[in-house]
Amino acid sequence: MPASLVDRPQPDRANIDRARVLGHFRTMARIRAFEEAADQALKDGHVKGAVHLSIGQEGVASGVCANLDRGDFITSNHRGHGHTLAKGADMTAMMAELFGRATGACQGKGGSMHIADFQVGMLGANGVVGAGIPIAVGAAHAMKLAGDPRIVVCFFGDGAINRGPFLEGLNWAKAFDLPVLFVCEDNGFAATTRTRAVTAGPGPAARSESLGVPSTPVDGNDVVAVDAAAAELVARVRAGGGPQFLHARTYRLRGHTAADPAPYRPAAEVEERWLDDPIRRCRDLLALQGMAEAELDRVRADAVAEAAAAVADGLAAPHPDPALAWTDVQDVDMAEPATVGAGR
């Protein structure tokens, strides 16, 4: 088993690559701004379906995806905005998707829970917990079969480790020695349930290791640490080292869905966790490194403006032509039915 990153010294905060950290700050600010805007749009009635916010978890998406090339792939779960933006997807198309518009990333057919951007290797969010795991493994399998150097990252939550595909997928990845990095975003909750209460044994890392996939723990709210850990794991995967597992501890600062006030946890707990907000921590670090507050404010303001523009764009975008409902189903025999509404 490779040495665990936990024993390594913390990335040297004195000598950090300021431009890179600023990049993370920008990515995280964009994710936050996107989700805050989506949340508001939901309240304003512009988003019809469920939205799961990753507010507080942006460090994982940003830290991991910064180590991927555009051609690399990711799969995600229901809480996928952060992964998608961090992988380079277009914010305007994403917002339009949440609004169900023709210009949406999925032409309005998917919504938040099925957001995808294949152009940047984002193979899709998923409405079924754990379902992205075999899909990621299969994509990695195809890469290995084809001798294609691209790798796959698979994001899922701590709730997903109690579903069968977790075991099957990790076993498979190791049995075939596939180029895939599993990233478990351990935010302590599965919907309204404290994951710990229904999860036996020592947790995600032990499960992963029991399946032959080495696990690395990381503070998911420390984007610099996530970046460093992911850098090493991605390098291992690229070098043919087989599947790797990153166990990122984080916290879901908002409810399960945007509409969930999360009364099942004390307000004090959440308040305390806000102090650990990855964006705040990153900002503090940059400020400590001498970055001007004004510059940081501008990054944030730019992100907010970008999200606002995406909202404006989305609201102005056309609704899809209803005929679009019939496309991309299947090629074999998708003649239009005689009467719309009278199915065939």
Binding site: K48, G49, A50, E97, G100, R101, G104, C106, G108, K109, G110, G111, M113, H114, N126, G127, V128, V129, G130, G159, A160, N162, R163, G164, A190, A191, T192, T193, A197, V198, T199, Y264, H319, P320, P322, L324, A325, W326, V329, P337, V340, G341, A342, G343, R344
Partner: protein, 322 residues
């Protein structure tokens, strides 16, 4: 009689059965905090966390464990959250629950109820909107129930819990807030499995339907200029009330089956085929079906609407038959 929502009716029904029979318990994700729609609100407080069991996200084992628990004498009520997630537990339901009694020559029974909320609901898209009642009606050993009203969601759930066969119990998500009179009583209000409900009489066309489409059919029947429509709510898909349907169509001479599920391969085919076979010569028009097109349910409201059957479409289809 009490005025209750479809949602609260189901909760009263479960609570009633749990009070009555200590072998009844419920299991599923987040039940301790009321379940994803609030159908279990307050039950953990009354019955404790052992009987309102919070489970891991393990649909296959939620269902499989219920099979084992049922085989040894308990009466589990399984919550699948969205019927779509029950697709993670099909072996357990179809290969195990439905067949155990038979394969073992009657040595064991599997008295479980699996609640599978179905249907389109607020832009839930392709993985949270399906109605697959046709699948389960096709599986020997399973009873399939799809209530359309608060009173039925009360009375049928109680009957389902008392049933010694495995019951697939499909509530419609869009019906949760629907209110109606419910005869809540310690041991009353039961609705028998397998019996349809005559929603309204009529003499031109019989509409056979279930679940959320009952309201739509009623609305269609009430449209100005609509023919005289008799609406039958099947309530139970397996066994379905052939006698009620055939009696009605014998009178009207016309039958239109309406369901929210995809029309192709939907349960409407079974009904249409049966009516066509039994009432050949009596029919004044071909049996028609109205179901969703064979496309996944899309997210955008304007696209999602393509999959949704409207009262206008139903009325028009009925009118065309006369």
């Amino acid at each position: 009689m009490t005025e209750l929502t479809y949602l609260d009716a189901s909760r009263e029904a479960l609570a009633g059965e749990m009070r009555r029979d200590p072998r009844v318990w419920a299991l599923g994700e987040d039940l301790g905090r009321g379940g994803v729609f609030g159908q279990y609100r307050g039950l953990a407080e009354e019955f404790g966390p052992a009987r309102i069991a919070d489970t891991p996200i393990s649909e296959a084992t939620i269902m499989g464990a219920a099979v084992g628990a049922a085989l040894v004498g308990s009466r589990p009520v399984v919550e699948m959250r969205f019927s779509d997630f029950a697709l993670c537990a099909v072996d357990e339901l179809v290969n195990q629950a439905a067949k155990a009694r038979y394969m073992f020559g009657g040595q064991g029974r599997v008295p479980l109820v699996v609640r599978q909320p179905i249907g389109m609901w607020r832009s839930s898209a392709a993985q949270h909107s399906q109605s697959l009642e046709a699948w389960y009606a096709h599986i020997p050993g399973l009873v399939v129930v799809a209530p359309a009203t608060p009173a039925d969601n009360y009375g049928l759930l109680r009957s389902a819990i008392r049933c010694d066969d495995p019951v697939v119990y499909m509530e419609h998500k869009d019906l949760w807030p629907l209110t109606g009179e419910v005869p809540v009583a310690a041991d009353g209000g039961l609705v028998p499995l397998g019996r349809g409900r005559l929603v309204r009489p009529g003499h031109d066309v019989t509409i056979v339907t279930w679940s959320r489409m009952v309201q739509v059919a009623e609305a269609a029947a009430a449209e100005p200029g609509a023919p005289s429509i008799e609406v039958i709510d099947l309530r139970t898909l397996w066994p379905w009330d052939r006698a009620m349907v055939l009696d009605s169509v014998r009178r009207t001479g016309r039958c239109l089956v309406v369901h929210e599920a995809v029309q192709a391969g939907g349960f409407g085919g079974e009904i249409a085929a049966t009516v066509g076979e039994e009432l050949f010569g009596v029919l004044k028009a071909p049996v028609r079906r109205l179901g969703a097109p064979r496309i996944p349910v899309a997210y955008a409201p304007v696209l999602e609407a393509t999959s949704r059957i409207t009262a206008g479409q139903v009325a028009a289809a009925a009118a065309r038959m006369v």
